[in-house]
Protein backbone atom coordinates (compact mmCIF):
# COMPACT_ATOMS: atom_id res chain seq x y z
CA UNK A 1 0.00 0.00 0.00
CA UNK A 2 1.32 3.41 -0.77
CA UNK A 3 0.29 6.91 0.05
CA UNK A 4 0.86 9.43 -2.67
CA UNK A 5 0.99 13.09 -1.87
CA UNK A 6 1.33 16.14 -4.05
CA UNK A 7 1.67 19.70 -2.89
CA UNK A 8 -1.79 20.66 -4.06
CA UNK A 9 -3.78 17.60 -3.01
CA UNK A 10 -1.99 16.59 0.20
CA UNK A 11 -1.86 12.94 1.23
CA UNK A 12 -3.84 10.53 -0.89
CA UNK A 13 -4.57 6.90 -0.17
CA UNK A 14 -5.79 4.76 -3.05
CA UNK A 15 -6.94 6.41 -6.23
CA UNK A 16 -9.01 9.33 -4.94
CA UNK A 17 -8.10 12.44 -3.00
CA UNK A 18 -10.13 13.64 -0.03
CA UNK A 19 -12.13 15.85 -2.39
CA UNK A 20 -13.04 12.85 -4.59
CA UNK A 21 -10.76 13.80 -7.46
CA UNK A 22 -9.18 10.85 -9.19
CA UNK A 23 -5.44 11.11 -8.76
CA UNK A 24 -4.94 9.82 -12.30
CA UNK A 25 -6.89 12.84 -13.56
CA UNK A 26 -4.59 15.14 -11.64
CA UNK A 27 -1.55 13.49 -13.21
CA UNK A 28 -3.03 13.61 -16.72
CA UNK A 29 -4.07 17.24 -16.46
CA UNK A 30 -1.28 19.49 -17.81
CA UNK A 31 -2.58 22.39 -15.70
CA UNK A 32 -1.48 20.73 -12.46
CA UNK A 33 2.20 20.67 -13.50
CA UNK A 34 4.88 21.16 -12.14
CA UNK A 35 3.94 18.29 -9.88
CA UNK A 36 5.84 16.72 -6.99
CA UNK A 37 4.89 13.17 -6.11
CA UNK A 38 6.16 11.53 -2.95
CA UNK A 39 5.43 7.94 -2.01
CA UNK A 40 5.31 6.70 1.54
CA UNK A 41 3.81 4.19 3.92
CA UNK A 42 0.12 4.36 4.91
CA UNK A 43 -0.22 5.96 8.31
CA UNK A 44 -1.04 3.50 11.05
CA UNK A 45 -4.58 3.84 12.37
CA UNK A 46 -5.03 4.45 16.09
CA UNK A 47 -5.91 0.79 16.56
CA UNK A 48 -2.86 -0.34 14.71
CA UNK A 49 -0.67 1.89 16.84
CA UNK A 50 -2.11 0.27 19.96
CA UNK A 51 -1.42 -3.14 18.46
CA UNK A 52 2.18 -2.27 17.62
CA UNK A 53 2.73 -0.95 21.11
CA UNK A 54 1.36 -4.17 22.63
CA UNK A 55 3.60 -6.21 20.37
CA UNK A 56 6.56 -4.21 21.57
CA UNK A 57 5.51 -4.77 25.18
CA UNK A 58 5.65 -8.55 24.65
CA UNK A 59 8.96 -8.41 22.80
CA UNK A 60 10.37 -6.34 25.65
CA UNK A 61 9.36 -9.04 28.15
CA UNK A 62 10.62 -11.96 26.06
CA UNK A 63 14.00 -10.29 25.64
CA UNK A 64 14.37 -10.18 29.43
CA UNK A 65 13.28 -13.81 29.69
CA UNK A 66 15.72 -15.34 27.18
CA UNK A 67 18.66 -13.40 28.53
CA UNK A 68 21.85 -15.46 29.01
CA UNK A 69 22.70 -13.23 31.99
CA UNK A 70 20.61 -12.95 35.12
CA UNK A 71 18.69 -9.78 35.96
CA UNK A 72 18.42 -8.41 32.49
CA UNK A 73 16.11 -5.55 31.70
CA UNK A 74 13.92 -5.59 28.61
CA UNK A 75 14.88 -4.03 25.29
CA UNK A 76 16.55 -0.66 25.84
CA UNK A 77 17.69 -0.04 22.28
CA UNK A 78 16.70 -1.62 18.99
CA UNK A 79 18.75 -1.04 15.86
CA UNK A 80 17.76 -1.46 12.25
CA UNK A 81 19.26 -0.27 9.02
CA UNK A 82 17.33 2.97 8.95
CA UNK A 83 16.40 3.88 12.53
CA UNK A 84 17.00 3.28 16.23
CA UNK A 85 14.30 2.70 18.79
CA UNK A 86 15.07 3.64 22.40
CA UNK A 87 12.89 2.59 25.31
CA UNK A 88 12.66 3.69 28.91
CA UNK A 89 10.71 1.70 31.48
CA UNK A 90 9.51 3.29 34.72
CA UNK A 91 9.34 1.42 38.02
CA UNK A 92 5.62 0.88 37.50
CA UNK A 93 6.19 -0.79 34.14
CA UNK A 94 5.06 2.08 31.90
CA UNK A 95 7.27 2.18 28.82
CA UNK A 96 8.16 5.18 26.71
CA UNK A 97 9.82 4.54 23.41
CA UNK A 98 11.01 6.86 20.66
CA UNK A 99 11.99 6.14 17.08
CA UNK A 100 14.99 8.21 16.06
CA UNK A 101 17.60 8.18 13.35
CA UNK A 102 21.16 7.03 13.92
CA UNK A 103 22.52 10.52 14.46
CA UNK A 104 20.15 11.51 17.24
CA UNK A 105 21.76 12.07 20.64
CA UNK A 106 20.27 12.85 24.02
CA UNK A 107 17.54 10.21 23.87
CA UNK A 108 17.89 9.28 27.54
CA UNK A 109 17.26 12.89 28.44
CA UNK A 110 14.36 13.15 26.00
CA UNK A 111 12.69 10.06 27.43
CA UNK A 112 13.05 11.41 30.98
CA UNK A 113 11.51 14.73 29.90
CA UNK A 114 8.58 12.89 28.35
CA UNK A 115 8.17 10.94 31.59
CA UNK A 116 8.05 14.25 33.44
CA UNK A 117 5.38 15.56 31.06
CA UNK A 118 3.42 12.34 31.53
CA UNK A 119 3.38 12.73 35.31
CA UNK A 120 2.55 16.44 35.11
CA UNK A 121 -0.12 16.56 32.40
CA UNK A 122 -1.57 13.08 32.35
CA UNK A 123 -1.35 11.56 35.80
CA UNK A 124 -2.18 14.81 37.57
CA UNK A 125 -5.17 15.34 35.29
CA UNK A 126 -8.25 14.45 37.37
CA UNK A 127 -10.27 13.59 34.26
CA UNK A 128 -7.80 11.11 32.85
CA UNK A 129 -8.80 7.45 33.39
CA UNK A 130 -5.70 5.43 34.27
CA UNK A 131 -4.36 3.05 31.59
CA UNK A 132 -6.55 4.45 28.85
CA UNK A 133 -5.28 6.07 25.64
CA UNK A 134 -4.04 9.56 26.46
CA UNK A 135 -6.17 12.43 25.17
CA UNK A 136 -4.83 15.40 27.13
CA UNK A 137 -4.28 18.57 25.15
CA UNK A 138 -1.69 20.00 27.51
CA UNK A 139 0.34 16.82 27.24
CA UNK A 140 0.28 16.99 23.42
CA UNK A 141 1.20 20.67 23.36
CA UNK A 142 4.10 20.36 25.76
CA UNK A 143 5.29 17.16 24.09
CA UNK A 144 5.47 18.99 20.77
CA UNK A 145 7.48 21.78 22.43
CA UNK A 146 9.98 19.33 23.90
CA UNK A 147 10.42 17.56 20.55
CA UNK A 148 11.01 20.88 18.83
CA UNK A 149 13.62 21.80 21.45
CA UNK A 150 15.46 18.53 20.93
CA UNK A 151 15.35 18.90 17.13
CA UNK A 152 16.75 22.42 17.37
CA UNK A 153 19.50 21.25 19.75
CA UNK A 154 20.45 18.40 17.40
CA UNK A 155 20.49 20.71 14.39
CA UNK A 156 22.66 23.16 16.31
CA UNK A 157 25.06 20.41 17.40
CA UNK A 158 25.43 18.97 13.93
CA UNK A 159 25.92 22.46 12.50
CA UNK A 160 28.68 23.29 14.97
CA UNK A 161 30.35 19.93 14.38
CA UNK A 162 30.42 20.20 10.58
Amino acid sequence: KAVVSTQSTGAVTGLYTAGDRAILDVINDPASYPLTLTFGRTKASANEKLMLASIFHSLFAIAAKISPIEQSSGIKELHTEKFTLRCFQTITGVKFFVIVDQKQTGCEHLLLRIYELYTDYVLKNPFYPIDMPIRCELFDQNLRKVIEQVERATAYNSATLS
Binding site: R41, L52, I62, T80
Partner: protein, 140 residues
Protein backbone atom coordinates in the same frame (compact mmCIF):
# COMPACT_ATOMS: atom_id res chain seq x y z
CA UNK B 1 32.12 -11.95 25.47
CA UNK B 2 29.97 -14.20 23.31
CA UNK B 3 27.25 -15.94 25.29
CA UNK B 4 25.40 -18.14 22.84
CA UNK B 5 24.48 -18.68 19.20
CA UNK B 6 21.39 -20.02 17.43
CA UNK B 7 21.10 -20.85 13.74
CA UNK B 8 17.57 -21.13 12.30
CA UNK B 9 16.42 -22.13 8.84
CA UNK B 10 13.65 -20.32 6.98
CA UNK B 11 10.98 -22.63 8.42
CA UNK B 12 11.95 -21.79 11.99
CA UNK B 13 13.72 -25.03 12.88
CA UNK B 14 16.85 -24.63 14.95
CA UNK B 15 19.74 -25.99 12.91
CA UNK B 16 22.41 -25.39 15.51
CA UNK B 17 22.78 -24.10 19.04
CA UNK B 18 25.87 -23.57 21.12
CA UNK B 19 26.66 -21.67 24.32
CA UNK B 20 29.92 -20.55 25.84
CA UNK B 21 29.45 -18.36 28.87
CA UNK B 22 25.74 -18.49 29.49
CA UNK B 23 25.00 -17.82 33.16
CA UNK B 24 21.23 -18.10 33.25
CA UNK B 25 19.07 -20.80 31.72
CA UNK B 26 15.40 -20.37 30.99
CA UNK B 27 13.24 -22.94 32.73
CA UNK B 28 11.97 -24.36 29.45
CA UNK B 29 13.03 -27.30 27.34
CA UNK B 30 15.48 -26.61 24.51
CA UNK B 31 12.69 -27.04 21.97
CA UNK B 32 10.43 -24.54 23.67
CA UNK B 33 13.23 -22.05 24.04
CA UNK B 34 14.18 -22.30 20.37
CA UNK B 35 10.55 -21.80 19.36
CA UNK B 36 10.31 -18.78 21.67
CA UNK B 37 13.47 -17.22 20.25
CA UNK B 38 12.35 -17.82 16.68
CA UNK B 39 8.87 -16.49 17.41
CA UNK B 40 10.35 -13.39 18.97
CA UNK B 41 12.56 -12.85 15.92
CA UNK B 42 9.64 -13.25 13.57
CA UNK B 43 7.59 -10.71 15.55
CA UNK B 44 10.55 -8.33 15.70
CA UNK B 45 10.89 -8.47 11.92
CA UNK B 46 7.24 -7.68 11.27
CA UNK B 47 7.22 -5.02 14.00
CA UNK B 48 10.19 -3.28 12.38
CA UNK B 49 8.67 -3.58 8.92
CA UNK B 50 5.47 -1.90 10.10
CA UNK B 51 6.87 0.80 12.35
CA UNK B 52 9.77 1.93 10.21
CA UNK B 53 9.44 5.26 8.39
CA UNK B 54 11.19 3.55 5.50
CA UNK B 55 9.35 0.64 3.91
CA UNK B 56 12.31 -1.60 3.17
CA UNK B 57 13.85 -1.76 6.63
CA UNK B 58 15.12 -4.84 8.47
CA UNK B 59 15.88 -5.64 12.09
CA UNK B 60 19.56 -5.93 13.00
CA UNK B 61 20.04 -5.93 16.73
CA UNK B 62 18.69 -4.97 20.15
CA UNK B 63 20.31 -4.48 23.53
CA UNK B 64 19.11 -4.72 27.09
CA UNK B 65 20.89 -3.75 30.29
CA UNK B 66 23.03 -6.91 30.19
CA UNK B 67 23.34 -8.29 26.66
CA UNK B 68 23.08 -7.53 22.97
CA UNK B 69 21.26 -9.77 20.53
CA UNK B 70 22.37 -9.49 16.91
CA UNK B 71 20.76 -11.17 13.96
CA UNK B 72 22.15 -11.85 10.51
CA UNK B 73 19.73 -13.11 7.91
CA UNK B 74 20.74 -14.48 4.53
CA UNK B 75 18.55 -14.06 1.43
CA UNK B 76 17.75 -17.78 1.67
CA UNK B 77 16.13 -17.22 5.07
CA UNK B 78 18.84 -18.69 7.31
CA UNK B 79 19.07 -16.65 10.50
CA UNK B 80 22.13 -16.43 12.72
CA UNK B 81 21.31 -15.11 16.19
CA UNK B 82 24.10 -14.27 18.61
CA UNK B 83 23.97 -12.93 22.18
CA UNK B 84 27.03 -10.96 23.20
CA UNK B 85 28.08 -8.79 26.12
CA UNK B 86 27.64 -5.05 25.91
CA UNK B 87 31.38 -4.41 25.68
CA UNK B 88 31.24 -5.63 22.09
CA UNK B 89 30.03 -2.79 19.90
CA UNK B 90 27.11 -3.21 17.53
CA UNK B 91 29.49 -3.01 14.59
CA UNK B 92 31.85 -5.70 15.99
CA UNK B 93 28.97 -8.07 16.68
CA UNK B 94 27.72 -7.67 13.13
CA UNK B 95 31.21 -8.24 11.76
CA UNK B 96 31.58 -11.42 13.80
CA UNK B 97 28.28 -12.73 12.48
CA UNK B 98 29.21 -11.88 8.92
CA UNK B 99 32.61 -13.58 9.21
CA UNK B 100 30.96 -16.55 10.86
CA UNK B 101 28.67 -16.91 7.90
CA UNK B 102 31.46 -16.47 5.38
CA UNK B 103 34.26 -18.47 7.02
CA UNK B 104 32.44 -21.20 8.92
CA UNK B 105 28.88 -21.71 7.67
CA UNK B 106 29.56 -21.41 3.93
CA UNK B 107 32.84 -23.31 4.10
CA UNK B 108 31.87 -26.19 6.39
CA UNK B 109 28.09 -26.47 6.23
CA UNK B 110 26.99 -25.32 2.80
CA UNK B 111 29.93 -26.86 0.97
CA UNK B 112 29.48 -30.17 2.77
CA UNK B 113 27.64 -32.49 0.33
CA UNK B 114 26.55 -34.80 3.18
CA UNK B 115 24.62 -32.08 5.01
CA UNK B 116 21.02 -31.18 4.25
CA UNK B 117 20.59 -27.57 5.25
CA UNK B 118 16.96 -28.07 6.23
CA UNK B 119 17.74 -30.33 9.19
CA UNK B 120 19.96 -29.82 12.25
CA UNK B 121 23.64 -29.58 11.37
CA UNK B 122 25.28 -32.76 12.57
CA UNK B 123 28.90 -32.40 11.57
CA UNK B 124 31.89 -32.64 13.89
CA UNK B 125 33.98 -30.59 11.48
CA UNK B 126 31.46 -27.77 11.56
CA UNK B 127 31.29 -27.89 15.34
CA UNK B 128 35.06 -27.82 15.74
CA UNK B 129 35.54 -25.03 13.24
CA UNK B 130 32.78 -22.98 14.86
CA UNK B 131 34.26 -23.44 18.36
CA UNK B 132 37.72 -22.48 17.09
CA UNK B 133 36.30 -19.41 15.36
CA UNK B 134 34.41 -18.24 18.45
CA UNK B 135 37.36 -18.86 20.76
CA UNK B 136 39.61 -16.82 18.49
CA UNK B 137 37.09 -13.96 18.52
CA UNK B 138 36.85 -14.08 22.32
CA UNK B 139 40.58 -13.86 22.70
CA UNK B 140 40.75 -10.64 20.68
Amino acid sequence: MIYNLYIFNSAGDCLYYSEWRRKKQTDMSKDEENKLVYGMLHSLKSFVARISPDTSDSFQSYQTSTYRLSMYETPSGVKFVMNTGLELSLQSAREILHSLYKEVYVEFAVKNPMLSLQSPIDSELFRDKLEAFINSKMRE
